[in-house]
Assembly symmetry: D2
Homo-oligomer: 363 residues x 4
């Protein structure tokens, strides 16, 4: 089968032919219908400092966002059957540690990640542990089913530990696909005002389609914190979702948060340490900072499924490109363009399916 | 000034001329712009068993839902100033009891209620304690400002103690104005499926406008519980909001709730005691029942204000009639018609303002 | 091996010799060190109406509370190894349904129960699914390790969905072992006043040892509700935990709960339906009723382990009898005596271990 | 009357004779029975950088922790009557802002603080706004009643937004009186292991009396993080309460917190900004940081009252010195000694009462 693999500890990746992998008793084999590119894949493709220290196994197949059809199941598999349309949670929990035992499998102490710690899904077939397989509604288009994983990130970052944002004001920093999804989640969950702070016009326009009430350019010479306060009766927003991974965004986010507000820390900053005004920004303001890693399993998946199935959340504006898996390099190049001209990019191993989806997509 | 008052312990009410009341140091006087009729007012008008035992002071002015302009303030008043456009929370808390001290003023141990325990607002001028005055955005139309109180009930019943209903399935029983508001709140807060169970066609149609995905007639010979389960993957809904105040609705609500679900008990049933299958409906199912009385002060008011100001929640379909205060009897008659041909009815002491609002209303 | 089994659909049980059972790939075999008798076992022993409709498989081994040593593991077992000292959660979840996927495995839609739906643990060896095996601290005495399951019930009933009871007042109705455990949990979790309402002197004395501040006899001719209100500044308690399974206790519990309080519904009542004053006891009081079935998996197990290991919770007063498994009938007879002269009874298949534990026990 | 006042913008304070102050309609006058010294008072006494920028009004009476008897009430006062034994919340809320309206008066946007923004309580008589007066149980000794305010800080920092710490492991950094109180709260609320990290032997010994299971010296050459992990099965603690106000403590606290844990940020650090490893300590670990300022009003007061009245929490080990108000300088000198030889110091305007309390104190 074809697979996009990292063959050596250097930048790039290659499309190669390998054997269809074998499954263990608690795994399933899927025929990949669609697989989408995440920023993490781009880091690994670029072979940046993080990837160099994080990636242990080379060669390894890239990718972790996926929609596939189950073609084989292991002997002990019970949740999934051949023919099911599945997606995959990518954090594979140990099921033994304190976090796994108390409802926090997404931050498992011993977890491994698809496409990071083991072969991923940029391939015609892929192996998925039963424990992370997610059975989809069969009516879900494959490119939509594939992006449920990052949509789950957005869901967790916006809602946190099941907080209610109805009638609250929120600022979302960042303009990658997850930030754009987050705008959609915030709108559907009842945020009364959504401030979107980003950099690239292309993505800011998508942000507006997803429901941003105010679009503020992070590069403009304006006082964004003052603007946000002016539009929230002087208080600042109730919730900040930081998805830019930039120290400027963390700083402005903390400054535009009201006393007692909630700050969702999702983005990874390039700096090893940030300078934070601990006394004034955290203690005296009585705020809460929540580190968001992964997504609640499987609470966010249930919500994502319900919102997509009911068509109350439409995330199609965020999907900007569909490519053949053969053209994965075009995908990566598109992802790396500055200024950005893409948001979510989905790859299809099967060109017929790609063409079919492209027809629908152009409507 | 004119006031609609209960003059004797018998059914009906009368429009009479009385003196403009005087305020204490911690009260304000408002010129009433709009005041809406609640089911409670109808109970008192009818002088039913509940009213006979509950109402202590006769004569007394009816009404508690209001929008007015502040014309005078007491010497110790600080939150409100002359000229403010205010509405009023109607549960007046003692500020001393355990509930008041711990964020539950709405169920104050010693609370009194506007229009029930003291003169209400169906009059040209009315006295409001500063502690329950709510300053409105001046751009809010008076008929909208007046219905914030029952909209707060709907908000509290749907959201409960700050629960997140995004991506959840909900069934709302009842078709009075608060149930119709609740549908709007549920839709804006991200419910992925909304089942509306009611009786009257007129109101069921408004329910659809407010966002009901399924309209089920409580009087139809169908298995509503089976229907709800069939449309929730066999589980039942995550949340039931009971606003019908009928034992059939309580029973069907408990039966259509999934294991571990939440049941908001808002409606008052005519029966003194209900027969409840405690073991199977509560204990084994692991559900939560929340009694909802009033609304969180002032958390629900803040959310209501933000949602109305942002125009993300449009409750105008629920307001079906605007009358002059002089025509209050037409309002009460309309409220009592079976089958129902009205939802929320708003009264205006000033006919010019009424005519102005009627023009807008007809658009 | 020896096993206490229900051989026919009639009252009683028999100690018989059967083959040591075989395990599947996802199960473990344990050598039972200690196993304790639950009220459910007594129901099945008596073959009451509930058992007759609930128990499907006869013959079947009784019992579900256990401590054992792992002697064999299935081929796919990862969490547990031979030699581990384990106890067992008794609710076996399907891992597929909505509740399992969202952190509520204890109320799994398709769950089965050890000793109810499949062979239990009143035997020399027993089969436990890996998914519910709980690895103990090896220093835990077997009779303590065995009662962690009902102690988990008590923990969940008192704490609910992670509520904080520090500085709160609580009333616990019932005097079975779980109610007595609940008193200990409430005391250790910081309840400032604990009211214990029960029937039997023997158990009420244990309740005092566990931390009850007030012991009220349910059979005494006194106004318990008035007593509770008098001792809570007139408000009533913040939390009621109903473990008596009696309509009188439900009624008195609802009456002694303060406005806005929380009612944990754990006990199963003999009546098919209870008469509940829905309007006054639930709606107007703004209370919450939580049905408690099983225990949070595995949050309560973690807490139980930490509290027992740290010796901050001492539940030994509740364990009143240790018997040989051969003498199981003495255990059941003791359990059925009225008035009660026992609380928790533990059976030991190995008489040497029993004698060793009896020595410790008599200290 | 006598009052300890800051007379000029320089270090120190003076005991002077001033007029008994007059009260407004919404204030009360108390005869001070006991008043305790807080670290904030020491900052103001020392006239450090923070005080210089924070204190606006000179001359001003110092002090905010108090127990007094009500001798006069304003005309609109309803909650309090002459003869009541009161203490005082020290954060005076505006009751108008978003935080006040939504249950967060302790972080009021426009709040003022007793003894910081207006005359305090180190005097024979003091003025207290009705809104912050807290009526005590008359049996509470005055030195205990006075320290309820800092005990409320400890309560809020340990419990946070009503989290349940039963069966959880906690590390408390700092050895001032509030940290010592926090140990007592954690013990009574059911923490299964309490790690206390401090500096001074005198205070560490009090920490042990309050319930610390492990006492770690912050100045010892040992790996405290490794020690904590070794004693928590390798995970780290569930909760960190940072009350040292030292960057080393923040750093070690974040490092010894488990994935998904909660960090209570209470201490004020001398550094203007802290260097925080945002990616690894917050985002990837999925932790929550809660800024703690003041105490929940009046939820913490209710809990404090219940715990002290029930004698389940004994904070007397933390009270180390009782002085006459005349000897306030001895108190301040004692507070400033390094190494520390005191924890909480209480001043009495009335020497007879002091002598009476000293007798009790020496038992």
């Amino acid at each position: 089968m074809k697979a996009v693999r990292k063959l050596k500890r250097d930048k790039g990746a290659e499309l190669v032919e390998i054997k269809i992998p074998e499954i263990s008793s608690d795994e399933i084999l899927i025929k990949v219908l669609a697989t989408s590119i995440c920023g993490t894949d781009v880091h690994i493709y670029k072979w940046d400092a993080w990837s160099q220290s994080r990636i242990k196994n080379i060669p390894q197949t890239l990718g972790h966002e996926v929609c596939g059809e189950v073609v084989e199941i292991g002997s002990s598999v019970k949740k999934v059957k051949v023919g099911d349309l599945i997606s995959s949670e990518t954090h594979i929990p140990c099921k033994k540690c304190l976090n796994c035992l108390t409802g926090n499998e997404h931050i498992c102490t011993n977890g491994s990640i698809l496409g990071v710690d083991r072969d991923g899904v940029f391939s015609e077939y892929a192996v998925i542990p039963e424990s992370v397989a997610w059975v989809n509604d069969k009516r879900l288009p494959p490119e939509i089913a594939s992006i449920q994983e990052p949509l789950g990130n957005a869901t967790y970052a916006v809602l946190g530990e099941d907080y209610n944002i109805y009638g609250k004001r929120i600022a979302i920093f960042g303009d990658g696909p997850i930030a754009l999804f987050a705008i959609g989640v915030a709108r559907c969950a009842g945020a009364s005002k959504i401030f979107h702070i980003g950099v690239f016009d292309f993505n800011m326009e998508i942000g507006k389609k997803m429901g941003a009430d105010f679009s503020l350019k992070a590069t403009d010479d304006m006082d964004r914190v003052a603007f946000i306060k002016d539009n929230t009766d002087g208080y600042g927003v109730d919730i900040v979702v930081e998805m830019a991974g930039a120290s400027q965004a963390v700083e402005e986010g903390l400054n535009s948060l009201r006393k007692g507000g909630r700050f969702s820390a999702f983005g990874i900053t390039p700096e090893q340490k940030l300078q934070i005004d601990y006394n004034n920004q955290i203690v005296f303001k009585g705020i809460q900072i929540h580190g968001i890693s992964g997504r609640k399993m499987f609470d966010t998946w249930v919500r994502v499924k319900n919102m997509l199935s009911s068509k109350k959340l439409d995330i199609r504006p965020v999907i900007t490109h569909l490519f053949s898996l053969d053209d994965f390099e075009k995908g990566f190049e598109e992802m790396m363009k500055i200024p950005r001209t893409s948001a979510k990019i989905v790859l299809f191993p099967d060109k017929n399916l790609l063409n079919e989806r492209l027809k629908e997509f152009k409507k």
